[in-house]
């Protein structure tokens, strides 16, 4: 069934089967009572879905891309540079879109009242960052390599190190929240969140790549993480 939109505007592509998680993924216990039990209803994209909130530079604190300097002193842990491009499925840059991130500190502890993990907080690290992509779709954060941490999903469950990413893109239909992982993490194989997506290639794209080019000598290792948002349908829709 072709997506219908209006006035010659193309809709946004739907994901290939298996490349996005199902809502119910029993190994992830929290999904059991929170995933819908009835099938989703197919919604042709309308003007509502092919538009969406956009944010100008007034919504961005340019200092918020450096998470190591949110406090009065330097954050503890290994400094890293996390950068990449936000693109659509045709490789076109997604410009001027807001990227919001959050993460645990170097000890694997979140600055959150519900995080009861017995690991220290860092008074100089909040774990919140945001940035706007530039004209090439690029973003760049300086932060601390997040620690792994235990959680209650199953016996001896540990989350691999990760950084949460939230992006709007150009339309309501392109909204994405995901997580970025680190190469070589031995916890990935047993993590039900990372493994919720059936498609192996799609899962692997969540793992950042170590990157000499963005590594700063004597300062910080670089990791590269590109984010791909839904691309536009090739043909304009019927009116």
């Amino acid at each position: 069934m072709a997506t219908k939109s209006m006035a010659g505007l193309a809709g946004y592509r739907r994901p290939l089967p298996g490349t996005q998680p199902a809502h119910l993924h029993p190994p992830y216990k929290s999904s059991l009572k929170r995933a819908p039990t009835k099938p989703l209803i197919y919604l042709p994209q309308t003007l509502t879905e092919i538009t969406g909130p956009t944010f100008g530079p007034e919504f961005v604190d340019v200092k918020a891309c450096d998470l190591t300097r949110a406090g009065s002193g330097e954050a503890l842990g290994a400094r890293i540079v996390v950068s990449g491009r936000v693109m659509d499925e045709d490789g076109r840059p997604v410009r001027n879109t807001l990227v919001e991130i959050w993460q645990a500190n170097a000890a694997g502890r979140y600055l959150h009242s519900n995080d009861q993990h017995n690991a220290p907080l860092d008074p100089n690290f909040t774990g919140e960052g945001h940035a706007m992509t530039d004209d090439e779709g690029r973003y760049r954060f300086v932060t601390i390599r997040p620690g792994e941490y235990p959680w209650g999903n199953h016996h001896n469950a540990w989350r691999p190190a990760h950084i949460h990413f939230s992006l709007f893109g150009p339309a309501f239909a392109t909204r994405l929240v995901t997580q970025m992982y680190f190469p070589g993490d031995p916890l990935l194989a047993s993590d039900p969140v990372f493994n919720c997506t059936a498609d192996e290639a799609a899962r692997q794209k969540l793992i950042s790549e170590f990157d000499w080019e963005t590594t700063i000598p004597a300062q910080a290792l670089g990791y590269r993480f590109d984010v791909i948002l839904s691309g536009r349908e090739a043909t304009p829709m019927e009116k």
Binding site: K4, R13, R14, P15, T19, Q20, P21, H23, Y28, S30, S31, L32, K33, R34, P36, T37, K38, I41, Y42, L43, P44, Q45, T46, L47, T48, E49, T51, G52, P53, T54, D88, E89, D90, L98, E100, W102, Y110, H112, N114, T126, G127, E128, H130, H164, S166, A171, F172, A173, T174, R175, L176, V177, T178, Q179, V193, C196, L206, I228, L229, K239
Partner: protein, 191 residues
């Protein structure tokens, strides 16, 4: 197509760290035209237990039925102070509340106008991918012929329509029920 969209992951339990900054529960600034409404409700899981770690996002047109977006081609006025964006987390008892204006009608895929509605994204710990739903308005003549409402079997349509709260003009109740009796209708609109 050379690339494929990045796979979604859950917001997890600690999303307030990164998402609170852009919370917005009052969508319409002073001077914005339209009928003011407060929409409130709760988010509950399959056992009816309130979900305290969810966040909903709103996207809507202004009172003229115009989206604050470059691709809305309609010759209708924008309103300064109205972006149409909202983000509201649930509180410890699983409740949320926001105030906005009732949007105007916007074009639908069948060449007719859609009834006034808000697009809603739902995120929470336990959800690996956002869910999309809509809020429609009670006693709205356009609901009967609305293209999207008519995609939904009649017995479930009510989950998409807010209810007036008795004794409080302008107050509407709309709930998100993840599973079971009264399970909210969720849509597949792409990502």
């Amino acid at each position: 197509m050379t690339l494929r969209a990045t796979t979604s992951q859950t917001v997890g339990p600690f999303f307030t760290i990164g998402l609170t900054r852009m919370n917005r529960s009052e969508l319409a600034g002073t001077g914005v035209s339209g009928e003011r409404v407060t929409i409130e409700g709760h988010v509950v899981d399959g056992d009816g237990i309130p979900i305290p770690d969810a966040v909903i996002e709103i996207w809507q047109a202004n009172a003229h039925g115009k989206y604050a977006h470059a691709e809305d081609w309609q010759d209708k006025p924008l309103e300064a102070g109205f972006q149409g964006y909202g983000r509201v987390p649930t509180d410890d008892s699983g409740r949320f509340s926001f105030t906005t204006i009732k949007p105007g009608a916007v074009p639908g895929p069948d060449g007719k106008m859609q009834a006034p509605h808000l697009a809603v994204s739902v995120f929470m710990r336990g959800l690996l991918k956002r869910l999309v739903t809509r809020i429609y308005f009670p006693d709205e003549a356009g609901n009967a012929g609305d293209f999207v409402l008519n995609l939904v079997e009649a017995s479930r349509r009510g989950t998409l329509i807010a209810r007036a709260v008795a004794g409080r003009p302008g107050a509407l109740e709309w709930n998100v029920v993840m599973q079971g009796e009264g399970e909210t209708v969720f849509f597949d609109c792409g990502m």
